[in-house]
């Protein structure tokens, strides 16, 4: 146990926690937009898996990380549009249709991987880019300013998301549609179009999160995301539908995951207990939900499809 508390190990653990938070942060920021507009996209996990496979495959074939990310984004947009079609146009029960999207993504990504790749082959990973000056700050520099560009981008998305939601007309529309679609509609806000936009944006970020995860690990395998998409949805509740809260939640998860990994590597947790240690994120989520549900109210129209009366 004492090995864990050396400063080098601690710093490495926290830095890896920040890294692990990236896919969660991207996916849960995307989900935040959807939920603020009243749509629960439970299919994030499936979209992440598809984004991860296609992103991985693009990098494997071309060697270009940028192309891999763009492919992940494109896949995310397509899946986001499909989700919007299902939830907004067909008004499907969101708690169930998302499970369908998840199963589709889980099966499809595995199917394509087996057909197109077969045996796992590593791909190039992200390079870290040290930010001048800031990366020289002791400890903090190593933790936060010696990461890959996509990690910076994900965290930059937090203030951007906050401003979009709280300070722009688009954000006002999102909130109006999520709280009181009837009133928004009567004021001329297009409920369906707004929700299509937020759900597609959510899909885009989920696809990017998946591709980012695959390139971060440099590998793809069946069920690569292993529940991260579902955790991302829970983080939106955890963060009380605010980008800042979502970021804190993602960081907490990244840190918990990194700590469990590190303790396993050091052999502090025996192999048999590792299943129980892996329960930590889900259990923490449930406890967090209890606390959050008491304090914050979800968007009033969440999971309710909108039908214009008369």
């Amino acid at each position: 146990m004492s090995e864990f508390f050396t400063s080098a190990v601690l710093i490495a653990t926290v830095a890896s926690g920040v890294r692990l938070a990236m896919p969660l942060l991207l996916a849960s920021l995307g989900e935040t937009f959807g939920q603020r507009s009243g749509v629960l996209n439970l299919g994030v996990e499936g979209i992440m898996l598809l984004g991860a496979f296609f992103g991985y495959y693009a990098v494997l074939e071309t060697g270009s990380i940028l192309l891999g990310l763009l492919v992940g984004i494109a896949v995310g947009i397509v899946m986001g549009l499909a989700t919007a079609l299902i939830s907004v146009t067909f008004r499907a029960e969101q708690g169930i249709s998302g499970i369908g999207v998840y199963l589709f993504g889980l099966g499809m990504s595995d199917l394509l991987f087996q057909r197109l790749v077969g045996t796992p082959q590593p791909i190039p990973r992200f390079d870290t880019v040290a930010i001048p000056v800031l990366s020289n700050i002791p400890v903090v520099g190593e933790l936060f300013f010696d990461q890959s560009l996509i990690v910076y981008a994900a965290f930059l998305m937090v203030p951007v998301g906050t401003i979009v939601i709280n300070r722009t007309t688009f954000g006002l529309n999102i909130r109006a549609v999520g709280e009181n679609p009837e009133a928004a509609d009567s004021l001329g806000v297009h409920v369906g179009r707004t929700r299509y936009a937020t759900v597609t944006l959510g899909g885009l970020l989920a696809g990017l999160a998946g591709a980012g995860l695959a390139i971060q690990l440099g590998i793809f395998q069946q069920n690569l995301t292993a529940g991260q998409g579902f955790i991302a949805i829970a983080l939106v509740y955890f963060g009380a539908w605010r980008p800042i809260g979502v970021m804190l939640g993602s960081l907490l998860y990244g840190l918990v995951a990194a700590t469990v990994l590190q303790l396993k590597t050091l052999g502090v947790i025996p192999l048999i207990g590792s299943d129980l240690a892996s329960m930590a994120p889900a259990v923490i989520t449930i406890l967090a939900l209890v606390v959050v549900a008491r304090r914050f109210r979800q968007p009033a129209a969440l999971t309710k499809p909108y039908v214009r009366e008369g």
Binding site: L40, L42, G46, I86, F90, R91, A92, E93, G95, I96, S97, I99, G100, V101, Y102, L103, F104, G105, L106, G107, M108, D110, L111, Q114, R115, Q222, N223, G227, F230, I233, A234, Y237, I272, G273, D275, L276, S278, M279, P281, A282, V283, T285, I286, L289, V290, A293, R294, R297, Q298, L302, T303, K304, P305
Partner: protein
């Protein structure tokens, strides 16, 4: 009498919509097969033959339908009380854990006691795993979709922990193979074989459970209260009904039936062991999720869920036959399964839109879900 016949006809009509939806999903599946270089006609022919084409096929379909029916009936109870239960996977696993745990703890009992107690243990395990999100929703306003998904993840880890450790077959340790599975469980707890060498009592148990759920929902005061809470929490509360307790009970019943499905899977399996491949699907075959679709297929009516589970079970058994016939990876089945879920759920609103048409009163007790709304429980 005439009204129930009318309701029956309406239900038949409404079965058509999800059936068409499933066919639409299969049409996309055909495109996928062509893309994979396989012959879809050959594939789907193998599918129908594999599901319904022979006595053996029908037995396999009935066995596949069993967990779907049990979970589906549980889902129906929850839905009727306006609660979504996405936790079937975890509840099945917990049922299996309790049942296998009991069989390991009390290996020597007369069959007349062993089998019923094993099934009761399964019911209990699922009930506990349903009561947790039920209580969290009723008393802490925690969204049940999220809590059940998280509890699915927790259940898988507990299963893996137990099957690698306390529950593991001692033989696996002696041989050093360490396959995460129990020893062959007590023979006195085997589900009796009814016909041939595969058809066990599971399907009968599931049908009995469906009938019991029907009686509960429409012939008891408790069932009336559950449905009243499902139609309008406010009205039920105003009428003096215990809304919170009803929500807790709905998820507990729902979980119990899924837990029973888990016990039936273990004690009706050919190996009579509880085995894990590390994932939930490896044990449940996604029945915890597919049971939801089965329930929607059956118009959220316990009795209609019986034919619905048989159809859906056939679809899954047939998909396996298809995969073997045209030699495509089995992941195709999971993808197809997802498409069927999406298409059936998407068509569900079409169906309820049809129902809202003429007179809401003629739709007495047969089909149609309460409009699901996420109401905060005060």
């Amino acid at each position: 009498m005439s009204s129930s016949r009318g309701a029956g006809r309406a239900a038949t009509r409404r079965l058509v919509v999800p059936l068409l939806a499933a066919l639409a999903a299969l049409a996309i599946g055909a495109v996928m097969l062509i893309a994979l270089g396989a012959d879809p006609v050959e594939g789907y022919r193998a599918m129908i033959r594999g599901a319904f084409g022979s006595g053996n096929a029908l037995v396999e379909t009935a066995l596949k339908a069993t967990p779907l029916l049990l979970v589906g009936v549980g889902i129906t109870i929850a839905f009727r009380a306006n609660v979504i239960n996405i936790g079937g996977e975890g509840q099945m696993i917990m049922g299996a854990i309790f049942a296998a745990g009991w069989a390991l703890a009390a290996p020597e009992l007369p069959a007349a006691i062993h089998l019923p107690t094993v099934l009761i243990a399964g019911l209990l395990g699922g009930a506990v795993w349903g009561a947790i999100p039920g209580a969290l929703k009723a008393y802490f306003a925690v969204n049940e979709i999220l809590s059940t998904i998280m509890l699915n993840i927790v259940a898988v880890q507990i299963m893996n922990f137990l099957l690698r450790g306390p529950f593991i077959d001692p033989g696996e340790i002696e041989r050093g193979t360490r396959i995460p599975q129990t020893a062959r469980l007590a023979e006195t707890a085997d589900l009796p074989i009814l016909l041939g060498d595969r058809l066990h009592a599971g399907p009968v148990i599931a049908v009995l459970a469906a009938v019991a759920a029907y009686v509960l929902l429409w012939r008891t005061g408790l069932g009336f209260r559950l449905r009243a809470v499902g139609l309008s929490r406010d009205a039920a509360k105003y009428a003096g009904m215990p809304v919170k307790r009803s929500i807790l009970l709905a998820l507990t019943f729902s979980g119990a039936l899924a837990g029973l499905a888990g016990a039936v899977l273990v004690f009706g399996s050919e190996s009579h062991r509880f085995v894990t491949d590390g994932s939930a699907t490896g044990f449940t075959g996604s029945a915890g999720f597919n049971g939801i679709v089965t329930a929607l297929f059956g118009g959220l009516h316990p009795l209609w869920t019986i034919p619905s589970s048989f159809l859906f079970g056939g679809l899954l058994v047939g998909a396996n036959a298809l995969q073997r016939a045209v030699q495509v990876p089995s992941a195709l089945i999971i993808a197809l399964n997802g498409l069927v879920v999406i298409f059936v759920v998407s068509s569900d609103r079409l169906r309820t839109a049809v129902r809202r048409g003429p007179t809401p009163l003629d739709d007495d007790d047969s089909v149609g879900a309460p409009a699901l709304e996420e109401e905060a429980v005060p």
